[in-house]
């Protein structure tokens, strides 16, 4: 009787297993770079062509391999990193399952060159789909260079399912950035299609690496730190004002490995509950060190996830760390823009009150809990030419209150300016058919954009140029803003453009439906984009305004008349609190 079930050939087995490990180019990069780190490299260079479909090169200056070691390394289940089952439970290195090189070799053409310290000659091994093609000597300094070409050449289906080069590279980039945060002492250089994506120097401190890699200012973050008998957490968490609409810059490292974990996600969400408005996500980098026996690593074939033996330990620690950091006061020092300033010295155990100049609330400790409270009156912003006024002031760093005989007029500063700018933009847009008149910046503003951000900008370039923006693009992912519309020229251009791109990317339809309104002569898409721009350019909640500025805003919006009654989101720009209303509220009428 012939059997219908057959034993799979070794080749096929290899390929199936390879599929588990090598899902896409980013997996290749991950495996190879982890090997480099394990080899003790101080510098890792990664070169990618066409998102990894054509070629991936990973070069390091680590220990290298002898010719014999090289041969073995490419065989399945061969590794230098574990010997016994016990080793499995106390994993200190990254690669351990003995699959990486062999898996990659099974689905690509791979060329490995390596040399150990002090060797005159290196060894070169060429494999194609797991078959050794040649092994010979070559020129190579101490370290290893691995070239992976034609990924999935023998798995056409999987090859077809790869996303665009830009998208695949984005994944690679994100992973390398994340990994670089865990190893600040190692230098990382990443290039895509001959363009340099970034170059992090070796030997950095953790702070500097976070700053360099994430391109953030640590002024917008608070350091988090907690230590219990089982674990230790260090890192940074963002303040509200840099929360993003998309999940960006959220990194978790468990014992120096970049991983995902649901417990920690949940803990972060819990920690920011009540602070973050809906739809916004905080940024954070959490470095968690925990005893090896409290984690289970062998969970995921690509080692991307991890499970905790006692999740609640981790959950509580993360929540506490973040919450206490947000309410702990930071030293002001010589930071150009102090983000949190000390209001009152915290007494021995009770209240530490912190007021953030940018946040419009503070954290107050009550018992063992943190509760946020909102101050009402804040000092007005300071302008040298200001004449002190007693009929106009700012409260909550958000509302402009104008005192009239008949009562109060209260304006939402952001809504007001947003509306004003939108009207101006619409005007400019209509007037200019192609390139609008803009104010040339004396020094172009430089912006580092990711590939996807750059794509959006290029798409929107025509639109923005109509308003008066001018851009120039350099070869290495840098964009220069050379001119801006006159009415936004003294603002933070970078923030405006980044925010605008963010909105376009997340296609937030928060200005949707009827409230978008209708403008004759402008298509819906452009109108949407104009509202994004107006919103991003307008003064934000939390910014201090001088008397002169407040008067100017009130003036402008009043001149708009009916048009100025509501902002593009559909919310009102102004409310009246007249004597009549007060009488009613006090139940006198």
């Amino acid at each position: 009787m012939s059997t219908k079930i057959k034993i799979l050939s070794q080749k096929l087995v290899d390929q199936i297993a390879a599929g588990e490990v090598v899902e896409r180019p980013a997996s290749v990069v991950k495996e190879l770079v982890e090997n480099s780190i394990d080899a003790g490299a101080s510098f890792v260079e990664i070169e990618v062509l066409q998102g990894g479909r054509d070629k991936i090169v990973v070069r390091d200056n680590g220990m290298g391999m002898s010719a014999d070691d090289l041969r073995l390394a490419c065989k399945r289940y061969a590794t230098s990193k574990i010997d016994t089952v016990d080793d499995l439970t106390s994993i200190k290195t990254f690669g351990f399952r003995g699959e990486a090189l062999s898996s990659i070799a099974a689905v690509s053409r791979i060329n490995v060159k390596t040399a150990v310290k002090g060797a005159v000659q290196g060894t070169e091994l060429i494999l194609e789909g797991s078959k050794e093609q040649s092994l010979r000597s070559c020129a190579h300094p101490q370290g290893t260079t691995i070239v992976v070409s034609d990924l999935f050449y023998n798995l056409p289906v999987r090859k077809k399912f790869l996303k665009t080069a830009g998208s695949e590279f984005g994944r690679i980039r994100d992973w390398v950035v994340a990994q670089s945060l865990a190893c600040p002492e190692i230098g990382f250089l990443l290039r895509h299609n001959q363009r340099e994506a970034f170059n992090f120097p070796p030997g950095q401190t953790w702070d500097k690496r976070v700053q360099t890699a994430l391109n953030i200012s640590l002024d917008d973050f608070v350091p988090i730190s907690i230590k219990t008998e089982h674990l230790e957490i260090n890192g940074v968490a963002s303040l509200v004002q840099v929360a993003r609409r998309r999940r960006t810059n959220q990194f978790l490292f468990v014992n120096q490995r970049f991983l995902q974990n649901k417990t920690v996600w949940g803990a972060v969400r819990e920690a920011y509950k009540g602070i973050l408005p809906a739809g916004l996500h905080p940024q954070y980098v959490i470095d968690l060190r925990i005893r090896e026996d409290l984690i289970d690593v062998n969970v995921h074939p690509r080692k991307e996830e991890v499970r905790f033996v006692v999740p609640s330990l981790v959950f509580d620690a993360v929540v506490n760390a973040i919450r206490s950091a947000l309410s702990r006061c930071l030293e002001d020092g010589t930071a150009p823009i102090p983000s949190v300033r000390r209001v009152a010295k915290p007494q021995s155990d009770t209240t530490g009150v912190c007021v953030s100049e940018k946040l419009n609330f503070s954290y107050v400790k009550r018992g063992s809990d943190y509760v946020h409270s909102v101050p009402v009156l804040s000092e007005t912003g300071f302008d040298q030419r200001d004449i002190p006024a007693n009929d106009i002031f700012q409260i909550g760093l958000l509302y402009i209150v104008v005192l009239k005989e008949s009562g109060f007029l209260i304006y939402d500063q952001h809504a007001v300016e947003e509306k004003i700018l939108l009207v101006e933009f619409i005007q400019q847009f209509k007037e200019q058919q192609t390139k609008g008149y803009g104010q040339e910046l004396l020094f172009p503003e430089k912006m580092d954009l990711s590939d996807s951000e750059r794509e959006v900008l290029e798409e929107q370039q025509g639109f923005l140029e109509r308003l008066g923006f001018r851009f120039s693009f350099s070869e290495n992912s840098q964009v220069f803003v050379e001119a801006v519309p006159v009415n936004v020229k003294d603002r933070n251009i970078k923030q405006i453009i980044l925010g605008f791109i963010d909105d376009c990317l997340s296609r937030s339809e928060y200005v949707g439906g009827a409230s978008l309104g209708f403008e004759p002569g402008i298509d819906r898409g452009s109108l949407q984009a104009l509202t994004y721009l107006a919103c991003r350019s307008a003064v934000k909640q939390g910014e201090r305004l001088s008397v002169a500025r407040m008067r100017a805003l009130v003036d402008s919006v009043e001149r708009l008349g009916e048009q100025g009654a509501s902002c593009p989101h559909g919310r009102p720009t102004k409310i009246k609190l007249l004597l009549e209303d007060l009488h009613k509220m006090f139940k006198r009428r």
Partner: protein, 848 residues
């Protein structure tokens, strides 16, 4: 041209005026200002039309008949100047010295010509506007004086205010001068007729193609009292303050006097921004022969003269133009004082240590414009309002940098001490006070002097804005008076101000309205009242503009007193920029700090070639280098071509050069003894075009090296004796190697790359010689270049294998192998014993 001019005789006063002026500048293209244009006439017009690509026309000049001419608009003159000077012409700019209306008032009969005079002569070496200058390079004008065996050179960059001199004692005038010309790379050279009559001089000048050579007619009178001329300009009693001994620099000082006089004549000004005379201190500088600069590919590649593939390309990450020029200077003149070098290294170390802070400094530097060139334009009097704003903004940004340094890099504050910033504060304040923040570019437009500077100007401006509101009121008033609600007051260039009334309202138009223009659905009128208002406005505008011009000139003069401190700030900011650039390169390319000593061993661990390692095609294999006077003074390197010998040689030279420049170096570690000269003798491209054979040139350069090097030099020979027959070549090479080994005065650290492996036996005779080879593996039929330097000598030349790799046809390769076997049979044996009777251990075959 002069002769022709003499013959001409024009009847019209204007052409006569032209002729008179032209006679004073026969060797220049004369740009003659006529209204809104600069015109060229006669021969100049033909040249101008050709060079600038503009139409040659002719103008009837009354009794003078038709005269060829062509012109350019006044506001675009800079671009045209550039084209003319690039084509090698001198251009005399002749302006109208007074307004047309003033002239008419002066002379009777209304037939007067406006007074004109040449305000400036622009030559290739005296170009001043940014468009015609290369940002990161100097634009040098060189003056040469030759006398007996001394060559005096003076070179200046008018756009930065630099004036340097060098005196050279020469054995061969042509070589000596050529070397200097290659180093300085001038765009224009002036000298006396006498000097130009020397054939050597002319031949030397051909070395840099495209150099503009002009004889200076006034040379003799300019140099007659050279010292006095210089002392007067610099306001000093003696030259000691500049570090110049006049007795040692006779010819150079004469050249300098001629140069300065020439500059003053052409720019027609005192040139206050040329503030000092800089000598070339040859004992404080690591000398690089002209060949070395080319061979090491510092600024341009040997093949193709490009920038990519050069050392400067790798090193230059400066953000300012002045920084770019300075890093070139430093590369051309590495140091020899240990302390100075270490000071530079310290600065770089500090900046390398903090990536984000350093990047902040660099971002701020990017907001500093070219202060030196701005100052020069101000000094010569051709600056415009935007230039002044650029100066102010740059000074403010330098101030910000100082603040930043104080908090982030306090050890670098010596570069930009706050004292200096305080000194320049009055200048900044002056600029803030007197110039509007966003002025127009052209002086003729007005609107650049700030309010509150001159009561008179403010008054005119008041009148002007008053007129504007008056017009508004007038419009309102007429509307009421006539009852025409749609009545408008408008302005156009032809009629000036007018009242516009639509056709439907024509019946309401009062009788005193004078009709001026009819349109499709409206009529335009004027009234005397309106015209008067217009006149007031226009008059105020004219007066305001004229006043602003004068005020602007005053501001320029006021700025002059700050030239010195502004230039100092520019220089120091440039230095900071260079340090940042070198720190950035050191960090990105993983360089280390070299350890320098006055003398001793040279020790490089895992050294790399700074340019080639960046090419990234194949990973770079590093190598060690060890040199000592005892047993490793001379390294003899053998191995096949393409194995990496040349790269190895050059990387040793480059690492030494970088170290002495004060930069970090590409290696794991480096100990460098300070050298006085670096010589390189590299075969590839020689001046065949100058009619000299490869071998001859090679011998000349070798002679130069052997005669001039010292025990403190570093010498690189890449394949010596190649251009002649094998036996001759090998013999010469042998003798040269012995020379370095034998001669205690010339015991430089020397690296020889050679394919004459016979020379390797010399290591038995001389302890100082060490044999190294490029490791090569043979695997079956193939050879693998390992690029590793190992001890020992290579007997195999692998020539045929390399030829095979290069793609020589199979049949040719096979035949070559056959011939080789045959010749090997008939070997000739030589040995050291055979050569000079000394003890030799091995016998080697010439052709193994």
């Amino acid at each position: 041209m002069a002769k022709v001019l003499d013959d001409l005789n024009f009847k019209t006063p204007m052409m006569q005026q032209y002729l008179d002026i032209k006679k004073q500048y026969p060797d220049c293209i004369l740009l003659f200002r006529l209204g809104d244009f600069y015109e060229m006439f006669l021969g100049d017009a033909k040249i101008g039309s050709e060079v600038l690509g503009i139409t040659l026309t002719s103008r009837s000049r009354g009794q003078d008949g038709r005269i060829p001419m062509c012109g350019v608009p006044y506001h675009a003159i800079d671009a045209y100047l550039g084209k003319l000077t690039k084509a090698g012409h001198k251009v005399a700019i002749c302006e109208q010295m007074e307004d047309a209306c003033e002239a008419k008032a002066h002379r009777s009969g209304g037939q007067g010509v406006v007074e004109r005079d040449v305000v400036r002569v622009v030559t290739p070496g005296t170009v001043l506007d940014d468009r015609n200058l290369v940002q990161k390079e100097n634009n040098y004008l060189l003056a040469i004086e030759v006398d007996k065996k001394y060559l005096g050179l003076a070179y200046a960059d008018l756009s930065t205010g630099e004036l340097s001199i060098r005196q050279v004692e020469f054995r061969n005038l042509e070589k000596g001068l050529a070397a200097e010309i290659l180093r300085i790379k001038p765009v224009e050279v002036i000298s006396s007729h006498g000097n130009y009559n020397k054939a050597d001089v002319l031949r030397a000048l051909r070395v840099v193609p495209g150099v503009n050579i002009f004889p200076y007619d006034n040379w003799e009178s300019a140099v007659r009292d050279a010292h006095k001329v210089l002392r007067e300009h610099f306001q000093v009693k003696a030259f000691g303050g500049f570090g110049i001994d006049p007795r040692q620099n006779q010819q150079a000082l004469r050249a300098a006097a001629a140069l300065l006089t020439y500059l003053k004549e052409t720019q027609k000004g005192p040139l206050k921004h040329i503030q000092k005379l800089t000598p070339y201190q040859s004992d404080r500088v690591l000398r690089l022969g002209a060949a070395t600069i080319a061979n090491l590919e510092l600024f341009s590649t040997l093949r193709g003269q490009q920038r990519q593939g050069t050392l400067i390309e790798v090193l230059d990450r400066t953000r300012t133009a002045a920084g770019g020029r300075k890093i070139r200077h430093w590369l051309l003149q590495p140091l020899r004082e240990l302390e100075d070098i270490n000071q530079r290294l310290d600065a770089i170390q500090v900046l390398k240590g903090d990536l984000t802070e350093r990047e902040s400094v660099q971002e701020m530097l990017a907001r500093v414009l070219d202060i030196e060139r701005l100052i020069s334009r101000i000094s010569v009097g051709i600056a415009n309002p935007r230039d002044l704003v650029g100066l102010r903004v740059s000074l403010e940004n330098v101030g910000k940098i100082v603040l930043f340094l104080e908090s982030s890099f306090p050890s670098l504050i010596y570069l930009l001490p706050s004292g200096l910033i305080e000194q320049v504060e009055p200048l900044r304040e002056l600029l803030v006070r007197k110039i509007k923040p966003e002025p127009p570019v052209l002086l003729t437009e007005g609107g650049y002097i700030a309010d509150g500077v001159s009561a008179e100007l403010d008054e005119y401006r008041g009148v002007l804005s008053g007129s504007k509101s008056w017009l508004k009121d007038f419009e309102e008033q007429e509307r009421k008076r006539t009852g025409i609600g749609s009545l408008k007051v408008g302005y156009n260039k032809v009629f000036g101000f007018y009242i516009e009334v639509s056709k439907s309202n024509l019946n309401k138009v009062p009788p005193h309205y004078i009709r001026k223009q009819t349109l499709v659905n409206a009529e335009r009128y004027i009234v005397p009242e309106l015209k008067k208002g217009e006149e007031t406005a226009l008059q105020a505008e004219e007066r305001a503009k004229a006043l602003e011009k004068d005020l602007f000139r005053e501001v320029l003069v006021e700025i002059l007193q700050y030239i010195d401190v502004a230039q100092q700030i520019a220089q120091r900011a440039a230095e900071l920029d260079v340090f940042c650039s070198l720190a950035e390169v050191a960090q990105r390319n993983c360089y280390v700090r070299p350890e320098l000593a006055k003398d001793g061993e040279l020790l490089i661990r895992n050294g790399r070639h700074p340019v080639i390692e960046q090419l990234r095609e194949e990973v770079f294999v590093p190598n060690d280098t060890e040199m000592r006077s005892g047993d490793a003074q001379i390294l003899l390197i053998t191995g096949p071509n393409m194995a990496g010998k040349s790269t190895y040689l050059r990387q040793v030279a480059l690492i030494t050069l970088l170290a002495q420049m004060g930069s970090f170096v590409p290696a794991d570690s480096a100990k460098i003894p300070i050298r006085d000269q670096i010589y390189t003798r590299v075969g590839a491209t020689d001046n065949i075009s100058l009619g000299q054979s490869t071998f001859l040139v090679e011998m000349m350069e070798t002679a130069n090296i052997l005669n001039n090097c010292t025990s403190r030099s570093l010498v690189i020979f890449d394949e010596i004796g190649r251009g002649t027959s094998t036996f001759d070549g090998m013999s010469i090479a042998w003798a040269v190697v012995e020379y370095f080994a034998d001669n205690t005065e010339r015991s430089a650290y020397t690296l020889f790359a050679t394919h004459y492996h016979e020379l390797t036996v010399l290591s038995q005779k001389f302890r100082q010689i060490q044999n190294l080879q490029m490791a090569v593996n043979r695997e079956g039929d193939e050879i693998v270049f390992l690029h590793k330097v190992v001890e020992g000598s290579a007997w195999q030349s692998y020539g045929i294998e390399v030829a095979k790799l290069a793609g020589l046809p199979r049949s040719v390769v096979k035949r070559a192998q056959e011939v080789l076997q045959r010749v090997k049979h008939e070997q000739k044996k030589i040995s050291v014993r055979g050569i000079d009777g000394a003890e030799g251990k091995e016998q080697i075959s010439l052709l193994e």
